[in-house]
């Protein structure tokens, strides 16, 4: 009997020890798992990946819905701070193509003279009309009294936007909406200005709208940028005769421009697909905007 009870007691001890051993093993495994997961868990400070992604996405959405007036300051600050390396980068890009030959220089000079003559012709036409009217209004020559401010320019043209950064700003009397000339033709208007820098929105920029007139035709229309180094004249009825090569002039604007100045040439003129009673007129600049080094800003009331 005693042997039997001893065996039973030993068996009980064995079972209890086995249970303890198993429990310890399970506990050790749990601890190991916890340690591994703790050390493998991707954390940055105390942020998990999901939290990190959520926070960044939230910040991105804030940027997305914030007014552009606020967010564009980041872009302007980048241009201001890195203006020097950006200009070096552009010089590298500009240095890559072959140096402009004498022929190119002559061509450019010719374009400048052609634009100048076109401007004079248009001004003369207007003067003739004024003389015919024999008005007693005070008259003066176009751009008389206006200050023509020369500035260095660097282009920033990508697929979407066409802008120029110029080396003059508010301190030089520049202001928003002033017209900008290059090779005697209008290339755009000032869209933003800081104390020493200004940004020119080219008339080919999709957000640009500018008042224009096609030579010979006494019809005022607006021209909207088309981003692909061209612009479209809006709502031009087909009853007017327009042909490829016609010159387009920027309309006078009180306080900003007192004489029409050439802005581009008609490069395509066809019936509008959506509205057959209107022309679809494409206008391209009359100067090589991409290779501009300097521009002139018209400050009408210096």
């Amino acid at each position: 009997m005693r042997d039997a009870s001893c065996v039973l007691r030993e068996a009980k001890y064995d079972i209890r020890n086995t249970i303890y051993a198993m429990r310890n093993t399970i506990m050790a495994r749990k601890q190991t798992r916890a340690w591994i997961s703790k050390h493998n868990k991707p954390r940055l400070g105390s942020l998990s990946r999901r939290m990190l992604f959520t926070l960044y996405m939230l910040a991105a959405l804030i940027f997305f819905i914030a007014p552009e007036n606020w967010t564009k300051e980041f872009q302007f600050t980048f241009r201001r701070v890195f203006s020097w390396p950006l200009s070096i980068g552009r010089n590298i890009q500009l240095a890559a193509p072959a140096q402009p030959s004498l022929k190119d220089a002559l061509n450019r000079r010719e374009i400048q003279y052609q634009n100048y003559i076109a401007n004079l012709e248009q001004q003369l036409r207007i003067k003739h009309r004024e003389v015919e009217k024999l008005s007693n209004l005070r008259n003066r020559f176009p751009l008389q009294g206006a200050k023509l401010m020369r500035a260095q320019a660097t282009a920033s043209i990508d697929g979407l936007h066409s802008m120029l950064t110029i080396s003059r700003g508010k301190d030089d009397g520049l202001d928003k909406d002033q017209f900008v000339l290059a090779d005697n033709s209008i290339i755009g208007t000032i869209s933003d200005v800081s104390s020493r820098t200004a940004w020119v929105k080219l008339f080919t920029d999709p957000t640009s709208t500018i008042g224009v007139k096609i030579e010979q035709l006494d019809v005022d229309r607006t021209m909207k940028g088309n981003s692909n180094n061209s612009a479209k004249v809006q709502l031009f009825p087909i009853k007017y005769k327009v042909k490829v090569g016609d010159r387009v002039f920027a309309r006078t604007k009180p306080g900003f421009l007192d004489a029409p100045i050439i802005i581009g040439k008609v490069t395509q003129c066809k019936r509008d697909d959506e509205e057959p009673s209107l022309w679809d007129i494409t206008v391209e600049p009359v100067c090589d905007i991409e290779n501009l080094n300097d521009v002139t800003v018209i400050v009408m009331n210096p």
Binding site: P42, Y56, A60, T71, Q75, S87
Partner: protein, 162 residues
């Protein structure tokens, strides 16, 4: 992750993209190539941070554009690629090219739709431009991984058999 080196690299690439490559008609998207590089070779948390940061850089280099679309699309697809990399190893150059091409296409499309949502004007022939930019980026990208890895002190083990 060496964040100071990362900042210097992103700034350098942003300046290059905004200046030397700005006026080319068809150009590789260097920032997107960097995005894929960090998504492939960094851990997921670092890849998330670098994706959004590169998206921010891509947005600020274009004056006049709306901010946000590129941050969102770069962040989203950079993170997705970082998670995908945990399942599929993208180590050989053809696969890297393909990853860059697909990411560029998807990120470009999302950016385009977000721009439309914000009322931004669309580029003419946007899909053609997007395709050629993605293709060019895919072709050039893997070759830029080597100098990027050297600068970031990341071992890329391109030729290992793992």
């Amino acid at each position: 992750m060496r964040w100071f080196r990362f900042a210097a690299l992103v700034l350098l690439v942003a300046v290059l993209q905004a200046s030397a490559l700005a006026n080319l008609n068809i150009k590789p998207d260097l920032l997107l190539i960097l995005l894929v590089f960090f998504a492939i070779y960094c851990n997921t948390s670092d890849a998330i941070i670098s994706s959004f940061t590169i998206g921010f850089a891509a947005d600020i280099i274009i004056v006049g554009s709306a901010m946000g679309p590129q941050i969102i699309s770069f962040g989203l697809f950079g993170t997705a690629l970082a998670y995908l990399r945990r399942v599929i190893v993208i180590r050989k150059m053809p696969y890297q090219s393909l990853a860059i091409f697909i990411t560029a296409l998807l990120a470009g499309l999302l950016t385009h739709f977000l721009n439309l949502l914000k009322g931004e004007p669309a580029v003419p022939n946007i899909y053609a431009v997007l395709f050629w930019t993605s293709l060019f980026s895919g072709l050039v990208g893997p070759f830029l991984f080597l100098p990027s890895a050297w600068w970031m002190r990341i071992k890329i083990n391109r030729f290992s058999r793992r």
